[in-house]
C-alpha cells in the first residue's frame, strides 16, 4: 500500500513534468503567426491612429513620432520619437526599444529597428524601420528612464 502510494507520488511529478514539457514544446514550436491569427483582433477607431502625441500604457510618458516623409510600405525608414512626461517635460535620459507588427495578420516587424542616437532634448532617432505591406500596423515604443519603463503603442495606417 505504502509502495503503491509512493509510486503514485513519483508518477505524479513525472506526469506533470511531461505535461509541462509538452506545453513548453508546443509553445516553442507552434506557429506564432497561426496563434495570433486565431486571436480576435479589433481594429481601433480612426481617432486612435496617427503619429501622436500618445500616452503610454501606464501614463508615465507622452510620445510623438516624426517622419521625414509619410511612412511607406517596403522602404527602410528612420523615425524620430519625442518623449515627454505627463506634464510635458522632455525626457532626456531615455533609452527606447521598438516592437510591433500587424495584429490582424499575426506577424511582427520584418526588421529589428533600434534607437541610434539622441537628436535633441527628448528626441531620439530610431533607424531600420520597415513595414512590409500597407494596412494597420502597431508600432510599440518601450521607454525606460529614471521615471520607469512604459510602452506607447502607435497605430499606423500605411
Amino acid at each position: 500500500m505504502r509502495k503503491t502510494q509512493r509510486n503514485q507520488n513519483s508518477i505524479g511529478p513525472r506526469a506533470r513534468t511531461l505535461a509541462l514539457a509538452i506545453v513548453a514544446t508546443l509553445t516553442v514550436t507552434a506557429c506564432t503567426p497561426m496563434m495570433a491569427m486565431m486571436r480576435n483582433v479589433h481594429r481601433p477607431a480612426i481617432t486612435e491612429f496617427g503619429l501622436g502625441p500618445r500616452t503610454s500604457a501606464n501614463g508615465v510618458y507622452v510620445a510623438t513620432l516624426q517622419t521625414e516623409r509619410a511612412l511607406k510600405p517596403r522602404q527602410m525608414q528612420t523615425v524620430r520619437v519625442s518623449i515627454a512626461d505627463a506634464a510635458g517635460q522632455p525626457i532626456e535620459d531615455a533609452t527606447i526599444t521598438i516592437d510591433g507588427g500587424m495584429p490582424e495578420h499575426g506577424h511582427g516587424l520584418p526588421t529589428r529597428p533600434r534607437m541610434t542616437r539622441a537628436i535633441e532634448t527628448g528626441t531620439y532617432e530610431v533607424e531600420g524601420v520597415r513595414f512590409n505591406m500597407g494596412g494597420w500596423w502597431e508600432f510599440k515604443v518601450t521607454i525606460t528612464s529614471a521615471r520607469g519603463t512604459d510602452t506607447v503603442t502607435f497605430n499606423l495606417a500605411l
Binding site: P73, H107, N132
Partner: protein
C-alpha cells in the same frame, strides 16, 4: 420648421450625391480598392536607387563588360556554363527547369533577374545582400559554374585585359596563384561588372498595368481585361489575401515567408531564411566586407532579423511579374503549374509542420479567375528600357 426640413433634404441629397460619386467607378472598384490597385501598378515603381557598395554599378563600360561576362562560358569548369545558361534572356532570364543545370544539378529553381537590383537580399534564402555578391556565388558553386576565382582571373587577364583595366586599373602582367588578394579583387570586379549589367534588366508594363493606369485615371478600360481577369484581380486584393506578401509594383514585399511548401523528395535540413540570414552576416562579400565600396552603409544588415522563429523554412517572396511564363514553381520547382500553386495556397497544408497560411476556401471558379488574373502580369523584360533578346555583340 420649413427651412429646417429643407436643410435636412438638402443635406440628404448632398450625402447621396457624394456617395454616388465616391462609389461609381468602372468595374465596381471602390476608391479604397483603386488606391490598392494603383500601388500595384508599374507606374508606382520607384526609380532605381544607387548601389554604393558597387562603385561601378552605373558605369556603362562596366555594364558592357558585365554583359559579355554574363554570357561567357569560359567562366566555368567545363567551358559550357555561363550565367546566361540558366538565366536565359529569351525566357525572362530563367530556364524553365525545376532545378538549375550547371556543370551539375543545383538544389534550387533558377530565379529571374529583372528588378533584382531593388531586392535587399538575393537567392531564395537571402544569403547575399547585393547583386554583385550574388553573382559570385554560382561562379564558385561546384554544381553551377564549377570553376575557381583564380581560373576566372586568368580569363580576365587573357581575354578582357584592356576593357578591365580601363575600368578597374592595371592588372599584373602575369597572375600567379599566390597573388590571392589580386585574384579575389578581380573576382569581385567580375561580380560588380555583371551587376552593372543586371541592374539594367527590368520588367516592362503588362496588360494589368495598362488596365490599372486607365481605371485609376477614370479612362475607358473596355477590352483591356476580361471579366474573369477582373474577378481574379478582385480576389487577389481581396479574400485570397495575396497582397499580404505580393504587394507593391513588383508584387513582392521582399521578405521571407514559410508557406508550407513541401521540400523536394530527399531534401532535409534546408531551413531557408533562418540559415540565409546567418550566412549573409558571415558572407565574404557582404556589404561590410573589405570588398564593398560602402562598408559603413549597411542598413539592411544592421537591422536584419536573424532570430525570428518565423524565418525557419521561410523563402523569398518572388515577384509575380511574368509568373505565368516561368513554370515550374516554388524554390525547387515543387509545383508544375500555376493551378497547383493556387491549390496549395487554397488548402494551406503545413508540409513541414508549419505554415503561415490559412485555408482560403476558394471555389474552383475563383481559382480559375485568380489564374486568369496572374496571366495578365506577363510583360516584356527590358534591358536599358529596350526589348532584349540576348548579347548585343
Amino acid at each position: 420648421m420649413t427651412s429646417n426640413r429643407f436643410l435636412i433634404i438638402a443635406a440628404a441629397v448632398l450625402v447621396s450625391t457624394t456617395t454616388a460619386v465616391a462609389t461609381a467607378t468602372q468595374d465596381g472598384w471602390s476608391p479604397k480598392q483603386l488606391e490598392e490597385l494603383r500601388s500595384l501598378s508599374l507606374s508606382e515603381r520607384e526609380p532605381l536607387a544607387k548601389d554604393p557598395t558597387n562603385r561601378v554599378a552605373d558605369d556603362p563600360r562596366a555594364a558592357a563588360l558585365g554583359e559579355r561576362l554574363f554570357n561567357d562560358t569560359r567562366l566555368s569548369a567545363n567551358g559550357k556554363v555561363a550565367c546566361g545558361t540558366c538565366h536565359q534572356a529569351d525566357r525572362t532570364f530563367q530556364d524553365g527547369l525545376a532545378l538549375g543545370q550547371g556543370v551539375g544539378t543545383t538544389a534550387k529553381r533558377t530565379m529571374p533577374i529583372a528588378d533584382t537590383a531593388r531586392a535587399p537580399f538575393l537567392f531564395w534564402d537571402g544569403r547575399k545582400d547585393s547583386q554583385w555578391a550574388q553573382a559570385l556565388g554560382p561562379l564558385e558553386s561546384a554544381v553551377e559554374h564549377g570553376g575557381t576565382r583564380e581560373q576566372y582571373a586568368q580569363v580576365i587577364a587573357k581575354e578582357y585585359r584592356a576593357d578591365y583595366e580601363a575600368i578597374f586599373g592595371a592588372l599584373p602582367s602575369v597572375i600567379t596563384p599566390d597573388q590571392r588578394e589580386t585574384i579575389t579583387r578581380i573576382f569581385v570586379n567580375i561580380g560588380k561588372s555583371i551587376a552593372a549589367f543586371e541592374r539594367l534588366v527590368e520588367v516592362g508594363p503588362s496588360r494589368f498595368d495598362r488596365y490599372v493606369d486607365a481605371v485609376v485615371n477614370h479612362q475607358p478600360t473596355a477590352g483591356m481585361l476580361n471579366t474573369d481577369e477582373i474577378a481574379g484581380l478582385k480576389l487577389f486584393v481581396g479574400k485570397a489575401k495575396c497582397t499580404q506578401c505580393h504587394n507593391g509594383p513588383l508584387f513582392t514585399n521582399n521578405e521571407f515567408h514559410n508557406t508550407g511548401v513541401p521540400q523536394r523528395a530527399g531534401v532535409t535540413g534546408d531551413r531557408g531564411r533562418l540559415d540565409g540570414a546567418r550566412a549573409v552576416l558571415k558572407d565574404e562579400f557582404n556589404c561590410r566586407s573589405q570588398w564593398s565600396d560602402a562598408r559603413d552603409r549597411c542598413t539592411e544588415l544592421d537591422y536584419m532579423a536573424t532570430d525570428d522563429h518565423a524565418l525557419d523554412g521561410a523563402y523569398k517572396v518572388p515577384s509575380l511579374r511574368n509568373v505565368a511564363e516561368r513554370w515550374p514553381y516554388m524554390d525547387a520547382g515543387q509545383f508544375a503549374t500555376l493551378g497547383d500553386v493556387l491549390d496549395h495556397y487554397n488548402r494551406a497544408p503545413a508540409a513541414n509542420g508549419h505554415t503561415e497560411l490559412k485555408p482560403l476556401g476558394l471555389k474552383k471558379t475563383e481559382l480559375r479567375q485568380l489564374e486568369a488574373f496572374l496571366r495578365t502580369l506577363s510583360g516584356p523584360v527590358l534591358v536599358k528600357g529596350q526589348p532584349y533578346r540576348g548579347e548585343s555583340r
